[in-house]
Amino acid sequence: MVGDPVSNNERGDSGSSGTGAARGVSRRRFLGSVGGAALGAGALAARLKISSPDEPTPKGTSYRNSTEPFYGDGPQGGITTAPQSNTYFAALDLLSERRLEVVELLRSWNAVAANLTAGKPARPLLKNVSAVEPDSGEAIDLGPARLTVTFGFGTGLFEKGGADRYGLSSRRPAALVDLPRFPNDQLIEQKTGGDLTIQACAEDSQVAFHAVRQLARLADGVAQIRWVQAGFNETAASQGTPRNLMGFKDGTINPTTAAQQAKFLWVASEGPAWMRGGTYLVARRIRISLEHWDQESLSVQEQVIGRHKVSGAPLGESSEFAPLDLEATDASGNPVIPIDAHVRLAAPQNNRGEMILRRSYSYNDGIDLFTERWPPWERALLYDAGLLFCAYQRDPRKGFIPIFESLAENDSLGQFTTHTGSVIVALPRAALGDGHFVGEDLFV
């Protein structure tokens, strides 16, 4: 068991700096009752504050010493937490057939995650030259770096290949559906699915990987990693909506107010008790044909997205947060935002008002030999880079699935993107405190 339990201190015990606390807005403030600060606005305000002349942008050490809470009575960290600059996402297959082993794994994962998010080793180092250390050590002196660890339950925890390994199939939430096949999906089996997921987000890529590495190590014999994806996000540097590798701001229209999040993000009485206050994640590994994209004129790129590249404003507007006017036409009567533009098809107005929270990370896995998915079927060494698209919603049957069904067939952005990996998981609310673990009520 865990030798060094952290205190049940919402802020962690390593001392958030003032700026760190300002930026790392506690999720409780978003989740609290009506009137609490909304994530987007709060996070934005925090960023603006960071960028003010009085308070220089924190770089390096001040971020290192900032913590994000692991325990709490709201959702897990890493969902509405102001995005950290790095992620390491892992999907694991459960090997064990024994429910008790799964429970013990989750229990130890949570205890260790609490240590890690506090900037401590997974377990106290033994400092015995003949012993195998319980922590690999590469995060020593790197600080907590706003680490969050988010645990997810995939469909395979409930049912796999027709088998109910852990007696949980009757407790599978209706919203945790198997994703349908979408047109143009080119999912790689080795990058798709997973019975459990761990997402570590931190201001330091080594801290993020370190966290997953320690947790995966604990799973030996019970679960094994199926696929992983590292990612990066320049939210902090840009101090606004982050730009993806296409150069466009990504995530302008997000459910940011408490009311929007209550409506679109958090599971309430419609879900099983163990999922209330939690949410569902659909993660998609989306390869972007960057070489192809780079050949397009600015005008074509903006028509594909439906926004201006530099400002992020809807076409014809000058402010990023100007409302999307889908009725606007130009002098010749053509829509200002083309009918197949990404923002039009993804807009709540065209999706029964539904919203999903997007908190995505870019990825860059080097180059590989690809044959492209479009005429003229170019074969070349091309970037394997793109987006680990993370969409959070109260019910994927109302969120990602219908929204993407429309996009998959008609979005002109689909001429540059290919979905190559996918997983859907339930993200129960956070563990309450020491000795508790995420999703524990599922196993009661």
């Binding site: 143009n184 080119q186 074509v300 998915r373 005429p375 079927w377 689909g414 001429q415 540059f416």
Partner: protein, 334 residues
């Protein structure tokens, strides 16, 4: 213009080529249904697609047949092309120009796959007269049927090799019966010497493609020469006409590829070098062109996106495939 259906079946096949409107009902096929096949598998590699879809005019699409990737009777495997026809007893013929890796380095001679009207694999037709079957027109005579088929792989020796002038048009007479799949009675080369070329990093092969038959003359689209040519006496000819007589050249033709005969007797062509349809009279006069796929993701816009084309029942419009979006579309004509 209307998008009718996605042409990606459950197995992820893509790059739709053939478009064929069923002239009558048989088995699973209803009059006016559109048969579409895919040239690529989900790997994106050309010459690996195995699916034939059946699309109702309402837009409901289902997999009609999934041909095995490798067939003893189809040299090189299966990669379904623009060559498609439905014979009187409901037999569906589909051309196969297969590769192992999406390049002509591994291309096989291919075959015509024979599928029953219920979607079952019924046999293959292969032989020296078939080498990269690319497009086809048919003429029915009850117990026999005549195919006019372009071959585009003859002596193409892999990517990046110089253009070879060996593409041809063959006439194949089949005996057709309800009880057994069609068999070859005779074959004859009607035209030959069309340029063929294989690109290194992109399209598999370019060579003689679209075929149409009108009043005993066969018309062939030759994208590399940017011409449409006429082969006279196509039903009776016993010697090759070479590359025939040029009907139309240049103008709005930019790599003519798929071809169909419009209700007014004109020829309709798809361009490979842009996203346009072009209408020419049988005497070669260009009368219209329509930009149907200006996708800016290709350069020039729409390049490589169009291929097969077919006239909708009653002449109400033109069905065509869009390889960029993997869809079947209908351009309505007044």
């Amino acid at each position: 213009m209307t998008t009718i259906a996605s042409t990606i079946p459950a197995n992820g096949d893509e790059n739709p080529y053939a478009v064929y409107v069923a002239p009558f009902s048989a088995g699973l096929i209803r009059t006016g249904d559109v048969l579409v096949d895919d040239f690529n598998s989900v790997s994106n590699e050309q010459g690996t697609g195995t699916s034939v879809l059946l699309v109702a005019p309402s837009g409901t699409a289902k997999t009609f047949a999934e041909v095995p990737r490798h067939l003893a009777g189809c040299p090189g495997g299966v990669g379904l092309t623009t060559a498609m026809a439905m014979l009187p007893d409901g037999w569906v013929l589909v051309g196969s120009t297969p590769t192992l890796d999406g390049t002509t380095a591994t291309a096989g001679h291919g075959c015509l796959v024979v599928i029953s009207a219920t979607g079952r694999l019924a046999g293959t037709i292969a032989g020296p007269e078939i080498d990269g079957p690319w497009d086809m027109a048919t003429l029915d005579h009850g117990s026999t049927a005549t195919l006019f088929l372009t071959n585009t792989l003859i002596d193409v020796n892999g990517p990046g090799q110089p253009t070879v002038d060996k593409g041809d048009l063959v006439r194949i007479v089949l005996r057709v019966a309800t009880s057994s799949p069609p068999i070859v009675v005779s074959s004859k080369v009607l035209a030959s010497g069309f340029p063929e070329r294989s690109d290194v990093e992109s399209r598999l092969v370019a060579g003689p493609t679209g075929v149409a038959l009108e009043a005993g003359t066969a018309y062939v689209a030759d994208p590399l020469s940017n011409t449409v040519v006429a082969i006279p006496d196509a039903l009776t000819r016993t010697v090759s006409a070479g590359t025939g007589k040029v009907v139309s050249s240049g103008g709005e033709l930019h790599g003519p590829l798929g071809m169909a005969v419009a209700p007014n007797g004109d020829l309709l062509l798809t361009n490979v070098l842009n996203g346009d349809l072009v209408e020419i009279t049988l005497s070669g006069h260009e009368v219209a062109h329509a930009v149907v796929d200006p996708d800016p993701a290709q350069s020039p816009p729409g390049a490589g996106d169009l291929f097969g084309i077919a006239i909708a029942p009653g002449g109400k419009g033109v069905y065509f495939v869009k390889d960029d979006t993997n869809t079947l579309a209908l351009l309505r004509c007044r």
